[in-house]
């Protein structure tokens, strides 16, 4: 864990209720699948947001406005300095990917898949990506994943863009190792359809975000585990959903 000041370089809406913020600061040690915990003025608890990408001292996060804290974040101007805790959580295990991993992201589960996809592509992997959204105006980052050289399929529940249905409608039955992040119903459906040969980024309401308050502990077949510390990424086979 580190506590650092970052400066906002950009903060723009990229889809319905979804914003991308780029911040300049000390990004050393941050791994794909980790998150950061942001102090938002006027709010008591920090806001934990997944890391979307790191390049050359720029941290990119993508967040959805879901409450007062994220609402406040969406109005922060360029130049604002934010107190951020970084290097939080365990991150994805890239050694398990195999040659042709599958990445499945749903809604705001999509952003953490990006840095993972970038690093897997840098390792020469053939990366297949399924991005699931509710409807066309919620879709984001389709072209960004394609530009990495990934094989990208977008699904929308109402069929307004890409394949109609859920992410599971886009599975092709191959036995790849998968990485996933998204709403709990999506995760349950994916595990049902694709088995447990993969890892899941879980989300729970957090207190401190760095392991001290044990507010975010989930039950697993290996005992209680803190989503912010032993997670947020867990092997699918140990989850009790």
């Amino acid at each position: 864990m580190k506590q650092r000041l970052f400066e906002i370089q950009s903060n723009e809406q990229i889809a319905k209720s979804v914003y991308r913020m780029q911040l300049c600061g000390d990004t050393a040690g941050i791994l794909p699948g980790q998150f950061v915990n942001i102090r938002v003025q006027g709010q008591f608890l920090r806001r934990p947001i997944s890391v979307c990408n790191i390049t050359d001292g720029i941290l990119t996060i993508i967040y959805k406005v879901v409450g007062v804290g994220t609402e406040a974040m969406s109005h922060l101007p360029i130049g604002t300095k934010l107190d951020i805790l970084t290097v939080l959580g365990n991150g994805y295990d890239l050694t398990k990917a195999g040659d042709a991993p599958l990445l499945v992201g749903g809604g705001v589960g999509v952003p953490p898949m990006y840095m993972l996809a970038r690093q897997l592509r840098e390792m020469g992997k053939a990366v297949r990506v399924i991005l699931g959204f509710n409807t066309k105006d919620e879709v984001f980052y389709e072209e960004e994943f394609r530009a990495l050289g990934c094989d990208v399929t977008v699904t929308t529940v109402d069929g307004s863009h890409g394949v109609k249905g859920f992410v599971t409608n886009a599975l092709d039955g191959q036995q790849s190792y998968y990485y996933t992040c998204g709403p709990l119903p999506m995760i349950k459906a994916l595990l049902q359809a694709a088995g447990t040969n993969g890892e899941v980024s879980m989300e729970e309401r957090m207190g401190c975000g760095f392991g001290a308050c044990i507010g975010c502990t989930i039950q697993t077949t290996q005992g209680p585990k803190r989503v912010c510390k032993e997670g947020p990424v867990f092997p699918a086979e140990i989850l009790i959903l």
């Binding site: 506590q3 709010q43 401190c208 044990i214 039950q219």
Partner: protein, 308 residues
């Protein structure tokens, strides 16, 4: 005068380098904070509450923001059980922390408290902090700390099985905290720690349900500071026991207020979650603040608003 001696205090004969103790449940066993600063700067550490048996605690979500000045939690005392703590967490803490170790204990029957404290009596801890905000399973779930008789019973039972100083941690969710405090004093408590969290609630108006699965939880953070200060002052004026003041402390100024009200040591809780550096920042700031306020030694101001 040596800079260090200005901050020094004493609890039941134990010298602490300063009055700052992270509150139980907000600091684990210090491992996470040790990544950010040298935790040996702390006068003491009150470790995560332990119980006779391992507990998972309450269903999620069990922690939430509670407005701009606090948070609400119903974590439910998740811990690996006292025997695991004695075998693993405590030795690890002792291996890298030299200050005063406060062992926080909870229980759901008098027997629970007795067995847990008897085990800890043999261990290298300095103070037993007995949390009586827990429901008594043998008394319809009424918290031990809500009745003077129950509080006294736990105090006496624990005192009988240990020679460590016993500090009773009092609940604020009572009609008369002074009555509880006096009952603990009469039953032999060596000190008091107050307050624990204040029972509270928030509702998510979009989802139309309470923000935490347990419905009600403990409210903590800056919003409860005036309540905590008032109760510390009431108890200080009514008993002769040393007091560890706790509740909404987040600045060096708050520490001074707590001590002036009657606290000898001060626990910092929720503030650790939002600013993990806060305890160290407060310790670092105290000498400068004391200079501004013309305080020579912190012991000079303990209970000073109570001196007639």
């Amino acid at each position: 005068m040596n800079m260090n001696n200005r901050l020094q205090i004493s609890l039941s004969g134990i010298t602490l380098a300063n009055p700052i103790i992270p509150a139980s449940g907000t600091y684990g066993f210090g491992d996470e904070f040790a990544e950010l600063y040298d935790i040996n700067c702390l006068g003491g550490i009150s470790f995560k509450g332990t119980t006779r048996e391992a507990r998972y605690g309450n269903p999620l979500p069990r922690i939430a923001e509670c407005g701009n000045y606090g948070m609400i939690n119903a974590v439910g005392l998740q811990n690996p059980g006292v025997e695991h703590v004695i075998a693993h967490e405590l030795p690890r803490l002792k291996s890298h922390y030299n200050g005063c170790i406060v062992a926080n204990v909870s229980g759901f029957s008098v027997q629970d408290y007795v067995e847990t404290c008897a085990l800890l009596d043999k261990e290298p801890i300095d103070i037993l902090e007995v949390n009586i905000s827990c429901p008594n399973v043998h008394n319809g779930g009424m918290a031990f700390g809500t009745s003077p008789e129950a509080a006294a019973e736990v105090t006496a039972a624990v005192k009988a099985v240990t020679t460590k100083p016993v500090y009773m941690k009092l609940s604020p969710n009572v009609t008369d905290i002074v009555a509880i405090a006096k009952a603990c004093e009469a039953a032999g408590a060596d000190g008091l720690c107050l307050i624990n969290t204040v029972l509270g609630m928030r509702i998510d108006i979009r989802r139309r349900r309470p923000v935490i699965a347990n419905r009600y939880g403990g409210y903590s953070g800056a919003g409860i500071f005036p309540l905590a200060l008032r109760m510390v002052n009431q108890v200080a004026r009514a008993t002769n026991l040393p007091i560890i003041g706790c509740g909404g402390v987040s600045s060096a100024e708050d520490v001074i207020e707590m001590m002036m009200a009657g606290a000898t040591a001060v626990e910092i809780g929720a503030a650790n979650l939002t600013n993990p550096m806060v305890a160290k920042e407060i310790i670092d700031r105290l000498p400068t603040l004391m200079d501004e306020l013309k305080i020579d030694k912190l012991t000079d101001i303990i209970g000073i608003v109570n001196h007639e």
